[in-house]
């Protein structure tokens, strides 16, 4: 078959996917306020961003939330994966099923169900509610990443550890954890990014006491075009890209 056609097609689609991102990045360095015309190179929107106290506070809030959500979901996700991998217990299929449902169901369904829960138990919407919600939607992704790593793992190692007198906890610490370390890091990075970028769930479960970045952006972009958003978007893109490259690098390196 013609080799030209597929390549041209691939290139074209990639162009469409990346043009808006490139436009955003370029315009973030635009001096002009209108956002459509090029007014010369400038860092004024980045300056405006960092001079905005509420904005900086929202950045820190988002970072802290992503950090804690990623850490908690990695811990629980790793334990879940280990349990699914090692133990036989009743309701294992149900557990698997629940994780699958969380991953597949539309975010908005998860969002309103969590909102209903938090209001029912009287939890004030803020950092804690955001954390619980973010950990919940990150969890299945961590479980999958760790399970994938465990599935290619030599089953005789834990057996050997046990024969040498290690109990479950010691065996997990000395044999399993080192093996799944790359998956833990990759899962953590994925959780961090998912949390940092979430809009849908956060819209429902956040309160005025804890403002986070995506929601601030959301309220800004609903009305008109704001040049500061270009700068902020660019920063977020670069940040996510670094995280992604890091996690892929960790996973690739561990395969060798």
């Amino acid at each position: 078959m013609n080799r030209w056609l597929p390549r041209t097609y691939l290139t074209l689609v990639y162009l469409l996917l990346y043009v808006p991102i490139v436009v955003l990045v370029v315009f973030s360095f635009n001096e002009s306020r209108t956002g459509y015309e090029w007014g010369g190179l400038s860092l004024r929107w980045y300056e405006a961003l960092f001079n905005n106290r509420a904005m900086v506070q929202a950045m820190w809030n988002s970072l802290w939330l992503a950090l804690s959500a990623a850490t908690v979901s990695t811990l629980i996700g790793a334990l879940t994966a280990l349990a699914l991998h090692r133990y036989r217990f009743r309701g294992k299929k149900v557990l698997n099923g629940m994780l699958f449902v969380v991953m597949m169901s539309p975010e908005i369904v998860l969002a309103i169900s969590l909102l209903a829960l938090f209001l029912l138990v009287g939890l004030q919407l803020g950092y804690v509610s955001l954390l619980l919600a973010h950990v919940t939607f990150c969890l299945p992704f961590v479980v999958i990443t760790v399970m994938a790593r465990l599935s290619g793992f030599d089953e005789r190692l834990p057996e050997a550890a046990r024969d040498l007198g290690a109990n479950d906890f010691t065996m997990t610490r000395t044999v399993l954890i080192p093996v799944i370390m790359p998956a833990l890091l990759a899962g953590w990075l994925l959780g961090f990014t998912l949390s940092l970028d979430d809009v849908v769930v956060s819209t429902f479960v956040s309160g005025p006491s804890y403002e986070i970045l995506p929601l601030r952006i959301y309220s800004m972009v609903r009305v008109g075009l704001k040049p500061e958003v270009n700068a902020l978007g660019t920063l977020l893109l670069v940040f996510s890209l670094v995280m992604l490259i890091l996690s892929q690098w960790i996973l690739l390196r561990s395969k060798r």
Partner: protein, 285 residues
Amino acid sequence: MRSLTQQPFRTAVLVLVWGWLLFLVLTPNLLVVGASVMTRDPGSFISLPLTLDAYRQLLDPLYLEVFLHSLYMAAMTTLVCLLIGYPFAWALSKVGKRNQVLLIFLLIVPFWTNSLVRTYALKLILATNGLLNNGLMSLGVIDEPMQLLYTEGAVIIGLVYLLLPFMILPLYSVFEDLREDYLRASHDLGAGRLSTFIHVIVPLTLPGVLAGIMLVLLPAMGLFFVPDILGGSRNLLVGNVIKNQFLDARNWPFGAAASILLTLAMAFLMFAHRLSKRRIGEDGV
């Protein structure tokens, strides 16, 4: 079986995991089901008596129109994603292994980046005096700017832009598994290109198509911020209705019923996906 005290670690892990999922997945979902059959209450959101009013309200012509319009936009999004994604995944599976890693990477970058920011980036391009209009005018293709923003088309473009990778990835994985010898066998048995495509390639890639549809169609009904940014008030998604009912109108039963509608749609698609996989399994592939 050993007793609890002999396996404290195992017990602790299972209690933690089950506790989390029961409290934050099962209970909330049951609450939504419960809320959907209760009566709206301005003070405490929901109250007794039990009623099916919320479901009846789903059939109210006003909302029915919104839902059908949302379904239409989601279906168009899915169709466009499929039309772009199918040949794309095919072409991608033919690229050399080295380049493939990079190309897949470029495809998952969007998954990791802020979808809100990317939707906003589209606005820069589609706006009345945005790049597209300005570009076309300076080229002399059009005389005055087209109204691109705040249209149905803009919402569909936005949804396609956000969801295309979710269509491509499952398709790519089925094309990767498609074995060349089947195609050769089909050719040797005298089938033409079109016939091979219809009788061999399409059935074998069907699970990927259905997985892609599942991953695109449902989010395409829920991503409320896309119409908010690109579509104006006339092109709402089911997600906008749900959000409205929960956060603004405070009609929880109705919002819950709408969300159950979405969940049922998901269950149906998952079932179809499973069925198609099983059928291929039975055919001995």
